[in-house]
Symmetry: C2
Subunit: 432 residues, 2 copies
């Protein structure tokens, strides 16, 4: 007996998934057991990239999640509502759910996973992070025998594309963004991408899986790339760094009960495995004991890659459904969500990191001494201080610190800002 899919949404990802499933030759033979049973769309009149019998397409999405014949609901419509309500309804009806919806999972994961656990069904979300890269399943399964201490990702293709071009061409953020919008690599409203919010959703999901706890999205610190300048990219290059928008989830120091979860542009040593990830590609580096470092690299978006991830979840559920006997009720602990408690997240002021800062100062003797004194007052130890040159009448000074508590560093900066010799502090970036 075939496994019946109810697909919600027939946009890029939905159409890509249908295309993959309709053309099963040469793929895992289990895909042939699948039936695209119902497909929900917003409008019946829109031209489609895929051919489907007219009688399985409907605009009544609720009828799909309530249809007793549907085994798996595939939510690829995106957005918060009605996606959230439809997912919850499907779960309550005892259907497994596959979703690519990082925004809904990051915001409503708590009620979604609680509902799934109560109903004894699974929520699969490989496509929510890293496009086609298999990273969710390895985190839930293979890597979970490790004590993971850090997950670091380049998980937003748009910003990585923009930063890569800024670096390679020496261009400004605004110019590259405008071009990326023309080429379709950035949305007309680029906020979610360039302000780090999309990456924030994704690192919340990865942190939850890696550290076995739920994450309050509002605890995730998000800083985007609008303030990254070509000047800083050039200085970083000279100092042996590239600038990447990193999403980081990490044990907070020795305290294994607390996490630091954040997104910000970061100076990354050129030899770091993530430093060579360019363009729209994504990569996720997982570090733990005893495995050391493993990295997953691949296309972070696109119809084909995302369809691969969605289909892999469908395949996984199909294997489970085909294996299950009527009497079976025990959920597989590697597929179910295993955490119910929230992780404690340290505020960004408690972060311990290195900083890169660029100052414009009046051309007076003794400015570097004053900077050093202010930093010293707050226990900020400096790795390098370089007067890089002049911008008009103003001297430009680039400072890289050793590891310092962010709160202490910010206090020092406030004091420095008030120094008569300081004109402005155009850049402030964290260093990995």
């Amino acid at each position: 007996m075939g496994v019946k899919l109810g697909i919600l949404g027939l946009g890029t990802v939905g159409a890509g998934t249908v295309q993959l499933l309709q053309d099963a030759t040469g793929r895992h033979p289990l895909l042939e057991e699948l039936e695209i049973y119902r497909v929900g769309v917003r409008s019946l009149d829109k031209p489609r990239a895929v051919e489907l019998p007219a009688d399985i397409i409907t605009t009544d999405l609720e009828s799909i999640v309530n249809d007793p014949a549907v085994d798996i609901v595939v939510e690829v419509m995106g957005g918060l509502e009605p996606a959230r309500s439809l997912i919850l309804q499907a779960l309550k009806n005892g259907k497994h759910v596959v979703t690519a919806n990082k925004a809904a999972i990051a915001r409503f994961g708590n009620e979604i996973f609680t509902t799934a656990n109560e109903a004894g069904v699974y929520v699969m979300l490989e496509a929510a992070v890293g496009g086609g890269i298999p990273v969710i399943q390895p985190l839930k399964q293979s890597l979970s025998v490790n004590r993971i201490h850090t997950v670091t990702g380049i998980v937003n293709g748009t910003t990585n594309y923009i930063l890569t071009r800024m670096q390679q061409e020496g261009s400004n953020f605004e110019d590259v963004l405008a071009d990326a919008q023309k080429l379709g690599y950035a949305e007309a409203d680029p906020t979610a991408d360039v302000d780090g919010l999309d990456a924030g959703d994704k690192i919340a999901i990865l942190a939850s899986l890696a550290f076995g706890g739920r994450i309050h999205l509002q605890d995730v610190y998000c800083e985007g790339i609008r303030q990254v300048s070509k000047t800083d990219i050039a200085y970083a290059e000279k100092l042996g760094f590239v600038i990447k928008l990193l999403a980081i989830a990490k044990l907070h120091g020795q305290d294994t009960s607390k996490l630091s979860v954040r997104v910000h542009p970061t100076l990354l040593p050129k030899a770091h495995p993530l430093a060579s990830i360019n363009g729209v590609y994504n990569a996720i580096l997982v570090e733990g004991e005893p495995i050391g470092q493993v990295m997953f690299f691949g296309p972070g978006a696109g119809a084909g890659a995302t369809a691969s991830a969605v289909s892999s979840d469908i395949l996984n559920l199909t294997a489970t459904l085909k294996t299950k006997t009527a009497s079976e009720t025990k959920p597989n602990p590697l597929l179910a969500c295993r955490h119910q408690d929230y992780c404690q997240i340290a505020p960004i002021s408690e972060l311990v990191t290195r900083f890169y800062t660029r100052f414009l100062t009046k051309d007076q003797s003794g400015v570097i001494g004053k900077l050093g004194t202010c930093f010293g007052n707050y226990g900020v130890s400096l790795e390098s201080v370089v007067q890089t040159g002049f911008q008009g009448d103003l001297a430009e000074i680039v400072v890289v610190t050793h590891d310092v508590k962010e709160g202490d560093f910010r206090q020092a900066l406030t004091e420095i800002h008030n120094l008569e010799a300081i004109d402005s502090i155009p850049s402030l970036l964290r260093v990995l």
Copy 2:
């Protein structure tokens, strides 16, 4: 009720695995359901890196695979026999098997998987390829919804370490090998590594999983790195390449019923994702439709990394055992071996690839013309011909071809070898 493990072997990997399992805090909670029930060793007197109750250790390995209480046999002893017989006996006794033994799987996979399928149990081998990198499970599961056309790996840490140092230091193979042996990165008898045999075992396993067929190991073409010279590494560098020992499994042209499976040193464009994998690290690049490229990177060996892979297989089986009801008999198609037929493998003479060749010739005018004519006679089209300088009285000429059938290229070389002006052909390498 706990799941009982019978572990065969307590060397580096065995001890690493026991250590991980004995210290389950902070890892997947399912690990707490495991019991290290019996451990088989060669000698009882050897000092151990781990503490175990004396009464569970035995030198009678057969008693472990025949013990009705044992649920999972973990074969981490290595070698061909008695590993093969013990694995087969365990399977016949209805026990699942976890193994890190690439040599046994590559040689005896046929009978091992047939026996497992007949007994309705699973053989798990994440640790057999790529150390700690989760690549076997993604290939069997997530990626199998794709039509995979190429798997390319750096799967031998020893040779990658040697080539990396040769490149970074401009050193000779022999010198770096000797040093690697001193440092413990290469074995006293380095044959299996430097002649590409270990990589051959691993690509046979990867090919089998990626293309859903069994592989005759003798069909895998293996060429090692002994003949890679510092001269060629330097020329490759100038031409924009690095030299890596690649293990490649690929559909043979348009013919999807035939594979090319091979290991050889390869000139790799510097921008290729595998080009920046250095030192003892491994990486596996999988290409397919619709996913595009995904790459898995991590430590290719070491007690911790391999223990992570072995333990992830144990975790997977434990989840299956804990989920299974007494009445259940259907095997999970994503865990079982799904292929019984052998893949057809094209002989290396049918390979279509680019070549890099270095010639030493007498310093006569017209030599390049003669080379070009010979190549032309066999349909070999040239991308570049550069006279790079002199070695003593002899002129040195480096040729890079376009794609050519290896058989045709070899015929042209035989003819060139007979030219009066040709002194010798010191190097011949394939180009990706």
